[in-house]
């Protein structure tokens, strides 16, 4: 395991070095980012506070949109799992909606909510709510019928069964769903900010990391900063995933 890690690190270091040498050797500077350039861009944007603030704006938007999505999607999906008639009524509708990609909603979201931040929150909510609802539905259906029978035979009504059997029984599936839909949500917020953030200028656009990329592209044309933004998008994705996995371990200790 340790040796594998060293091999991986060595490979990455070699690639980065070769990359830097190649860029320095010929004048591709304007179109291709260089490792040193990215480091400089990070230093500059951290120093003036613009990178942390852009990441914070995007992340808060994801958090807000995701919270709304969870508040709608999880109860709806759980209710679908508990009442098959509701599931049969609603599932085809949700499946149909799912075939429309979140970014296809951007124009109508802008029409309804303007170009500030709310359109992006809407897109995030939309991107996360369907996978959450469908997973919650699936999670309830996957619960061992014997556990539900045991709960009823021990005298539990529907509310205790929901609280003590259905919800804890759903958690392992839901953790996976949260990881996946958080990923969708983060991807959607970047797309939404890119698309709605075309109004340039302080306080005009949507802010966020997507906005920063658009501004960099059209105004400053700084390829190193663009690469820095992409790198940050990836790092935040990893952090979200690790966070959700940690949450899963915390919430489901019986799953070793």
């Amino acid at each position: 395991m340790r040796r594998d890690r060293w091999i991986a690190i060595t490979t990455v270091v070699c690639i980065v070095l070769l990359w830097q040498v190649a860029i320095s050797a010929n004048g591709l500077h304007a179109k291709v980012p260089s490792p040193l350039g990215i480091v400089a861009a990070i230093a500059a944007h951290v120093a003036d506070g613009s990178l942390p603030s852009a990441l914070r704006d995007s992340f808060l938007r994801v958090a807000k949109g995701f919270a709304i999505a969870a508040l709608i999607g999880l109860p709806v999906g759980t209710a679908m799992g508990m009442t098959p008639i509701l599931a049969r009524a609603v599932a085809p509708f949700l499946d149909a909606l799912r075939s429309i990609a979140p970014i296809a909603w951007i124009p109508i979201a802008v029409l309804w909510l303007g170009v500030r931040g709310d359109a992006a929150v809407f897109i995030v909510t939309y991107a996360a709510v369907l996978p959450l609802a469908l997973s919650a539905h699936q999670a309830v259906r996957l619960i061992d019928q014997r556990l539900l029978q045991a709960s009823h035979a021990l005298g539990a009504g529907w509310f205790l069964t929901l609280r003590a059997v259905i919800i804890p029984g759903s958690i392992p599936v839901l953790i996976t769903a949260v990881r996946v839909s958080m990923g969708f949500a983060w991807g959607a917020v970047i797309a939404a900010e890119l698309a709605v953030g075309v109004k340039i200028g302080p306080g005009q656009g949507s802010q966020g990391i997507g906005q920063m990329m658009i501004e960099t592209l059209y105004v400053r044309r700084d390829v190193d900063t663009l690469a820095m933004c992409m790198l940050c998008v990836g790092l935040v994705s990893l952090a979200i995933d690790a966070g959700a996995r940690g949450l899963g371990r915390r919430l489901a200790p019986w799953k070793v």
Binding site: R146, A153, L154, G169
Partner: protein
């Protein structure tokens, strides 16, 4: 058992499962009465509907015809009056041993202090001291089985419905648990301090060792083929290999053998 009002009265019970590939008649015209304090085992070849019978009495499935009365009342769903023990225990994986055992009292609205008292008493009764705070996946098969038994007992149900509760145990643990079960049921106490038990099992020797009567079911559809009285004295733990028990086992096996062979042949294609 004559003269006593039965705890469980099953009359002309029929159950047909409706499936996508047509209907399956699982039970036909079952008549059976279980008296207070009586231990009745149900045996039969695969596909004889013994688990279906238990499901109907537990209230998990509704009869297609006939009826099931428990203490004179028609069964129309699960009830804490009828304790159920499942083949694979069906313990709640996210609740500790103590919280599994306390679930029934919690569901019935028993106050916290009393719940703790019940849980502690049962933990001691089934021999799980020191394991209250473990999760089911941290327990051995025999300990899970003890936990499931304690969970059922926490409601002090009038009847015990047990669906192959010892089937998943290794042979030695099974023998230990059979005698544990008898002890907890009240093998050494007078009959009026015992509960009525309907015990479904694959093991003919187990059925003979534990019960007062063995109901032998025939398969496809499940019907009562014979009811064998087990007239062995209690407590039973010393009688494990008595000639009388061996004779009864042989008698019951003779009733089942041909059908059991058929069942195995069908399962193998």
């Amino acid at each position: 058992m004559e003269g006593l009002i039965p705890r469980i009265a099953i009359t002309s019970l029929g159950k047909t499962w409706q499936g996508r590939r047509g209907d399956v008649e699982a039970l036909r015209d079952i008549n059976l009465a279980i008296g207070p304090g009586e231990f009745v085992a149900v045996v039969g070849p695969s596909g004889c509907g013994k688990s279906t019978l238990l499901s109907v009495v537990a209230g998990f499935a509704t009869p297609t015809s006939g009826k099931v009365l428990v203490d004179g009342l028609s069964v129309d769903g699960p009830s804490p009056e009828r304790g159920v023990m499942f083949q694979d225990y069906a313990l709640f994986p996210w609740r500790t041993v103590a919280d599994n055992i306390g679930f029934g009292p919690l569901a019935r609205g028993v106050k916290r202090a009393e719940r703790l008292e019940i849980t502690q008493r049962l933990v001691a009764l089934v021999g799980l001291d020191g394991f209250q705070d473990r999760y089911p996946h941290e327990l051995s098969g025999g300990m899970r089985q003890r936990c499931a038994l304690a969970r059922m007992l926490a409601n002090d149900p009038a009847v015990w419905l047990m669906d192959e509760p010892l089937a998943a145990l290794d042979p030695q643990t099974r023998i230990v648990m059979q005698d544990e079960l008898l002890r907890i049921w009240g093998d050494e106490r007078p009959a009026d301090q015992r509960r009525a038990v309907l015990f479904v099992t694959h093991g003919i020797d187990e059925a003979v060792h534990l019960s007062d009567r063995v109901v032998v079911l025939a398969r496809r559809p499940g019907r009562v083929r014979a009811v064998i009285e087990v007239d062995l004295p209690r407590p039973r733990s010393a009688l494990r290999s008595s000639p009388e028990a061996a004779r009864l086992v042989a008698e019951i096996w003779a009733l089942i053998r041909d059908e059991a062979v058929d069942a195995i042949r069908e399962e193998n294609g």
